[in-house]
Amino acid sequence: MRYTQGEYRILNKTAIAKQIYDYTVLCPDIARIAQPGQFVHLLPKGFPLRRPISICDIDAEKGTLRFVFEVRGEGTAELARLNAGDMIDMLAPVGGRGFKINENAKRVILVGGGIGTPPMLPLAKIYGERAVAISGFRCSSMVILQDDFKEMGAKTILCTNDGSMGIKGFVTIPLIEEIEAEKPDIIFACGPRPMLKAVAEIAMENDIECQVSLEERMGCGVGACLVCSCKAIRNGQEIHAHVCQDGPVFNAKEVIW
């Protein structure tokens, strides 16, 4: 497969929560081949490094990709200055391993924490009513994408740390309840590392396949510079895997937390 890098037209930009922006970009050549779990590597103009952002929706027919990101620093602030009609410099799709889709799964649980929620949406699109989408946020002003999950037909469960919306507490509370109600075939998760670790442990205890999407500070995004390392076990050996190329999606059993 060849990599694609170039400038693509932004069709839509929406501010969907405090400092969180939702972009749709016209990029038919990328939309045709992008897979759930992969990411786009965006260049804020004038910055030395690109920013890896998860893909939130792939529409091959319309030739569009959608992604959602939070302004966290100067680079993402620069990206957030771009508006509909502007061009954005993307290297995409990147990510050597996206989510492994099992078409036959009868029930899956999607666990998204904060800005780790967007990559769960393509999975909700695939699994529809077979999916339970559990999302956790710090507070009500950070909540995103709940209507999108409902639209896909997923059972949608919301948690906030401060209880300002939905269940008060962490995503692990409804996760355990849903597992007890009916054991899922797969758990997919993306979010802060402590959340992923907790989800992975619950999956392990219940003997459920668990796929986690990891984040790490990144350089090239294509596996050449080796900066985005993460400790993992492969073939019984401890390795420093690279999130961009060996992931970003890992089997939770491979990850050394």
């Binding site: 497969m1 890098q5 490094l49 090239c220 510079c225 900066v227």
Partner: protein, 303 residues
């Protein structure tokens, strides 16, 4: 179309642009953007005798106009490199420069000996990696140790030997002269400048290794200065690097005295940077009626 070819230690390069060690892996990844045969050469990831896991993450931090990295020489080891990566590289119709690193003189010798039996075109001796305590930088910071390791490797290899110099020294020209005297066929510079960033919210260094190597546009003026000083001090060719991002940067570094340039950090923002630099140098030469890129090497009219 101007003549872009240059010659370093008897090795012919079709153009003077080479992706720098540590930014280009073993070529496979960027081979998915463009044919590697377009490049003047490739400097491979630093390779050691045994495989190395490298440092813990985070290994990268952005800085004003640059980056800090602390990869720590993660590589599969020379045997696996020769078995798995080198055959693929040798098919790419470009000059293959194998960057080697080690913790001891014996390790460098062992790696160089193993390469002697291969078709690799050149060896780049990394005595300047700042990210591993025993990653060679100790050899690169004094004239005696740089000369010693050069002499030791020189004895076991007939391949053209490039010594990659550290900028974290008081007199880089002195070190260049010392390695020239011991048989280096060329020098390449600059490796990264040792730097550090701290996250003031957590009070922790941004890099898990605390310190790392600074590269990118921020270091370019330092590179120009050091290339100029070294080119004026030695007779062997100089390969310049450090923040080269555009054809103008490459031309500037060649005017300072570089016979060829390496491009690294710029590729993270623009994977096509080396290709655009090659095209840009050609355009510059054509526009200025210069028939060969060799005419600009060291052509700075110093005050």
């Amino acid at each position: 179309m101007a003549d872009l070819s240059v010659n370093i230690a008897g090795v012919e390069f079709k153009n003077p642009v080479i992706p720098a060690s540590g930014t280009f892996g073993y070529g496979r990844e960027y081979g998915r953007f463009y044919p590697l045969s377009k490049l003047g050469g490739i400097a491979t990831k630093g390779t050691t005798l045994e495989s190395r896991l490298g440092n813990l993450a985070p290994r990268i931090a952005e800085t004003p106009s640059g980056i800090l990295n602390s990869v720590g020489l993660q590589n599969p080891g020379i045997d696996k490199f020769i078995r798995v990566e080198l055959p693929n590289l040798m098919k790419q119709e470009t000059v293959i420069i194998v960057n080697i690193a080690g913790s001891t003189v014996e390790e460098y010798i062992e790696v160089a000996k193993k390469l002697e039996e291969t078709d690799a075109h050149m060896i780049e001796l990394n005595i300047s990696c700042p990210n591993v305590k025993e990653g060679g930088v100790a050899f690169g910071v004094s004239c005696d140790s740089a000369a010693g390791i050069t002499a030791a490797v020189r004895k076991v290899t007939k391949k053209p030997l490039i010594v990659k110099l550290s900028p974290n020294v008081t007199d880089i020209a002195g070190i260049a002269k010392a390695v020239e005297a011991e048989g280096a066929d060329a020098v390449s510079l600059i490796n990264t400048l040792l730097g550090m960033r701290i996250d003031i919210r957590t009070g922790r260094p941004v890099l898990r290794n605390n310190v790392g190597g600074l590269s990118g546009k921020a270091v370019f003026p330092v590179a120009v200065r050091m290339v100029w000083q070294v080119a004026n001090a030695v007779k062997i060719p100089v390969i310049g690097m450090g923040g080269v991002a555009t054809a103008n940067d490459a031309i500037e570094l060649m005017m300072a005295g570089a016979t060829a340039v390496q491009v690294g950090t710029a590729m993270f923002a623009n994977p096509f940077a080396p290709i655009e630099i090659i095209d840009g140098i050609n355009e510059y030469l054509d526009k200025n009626g210069i028939s060969s890129v060799r005419e600009i090497i060291g052509s700075v009219k110093s005050w």
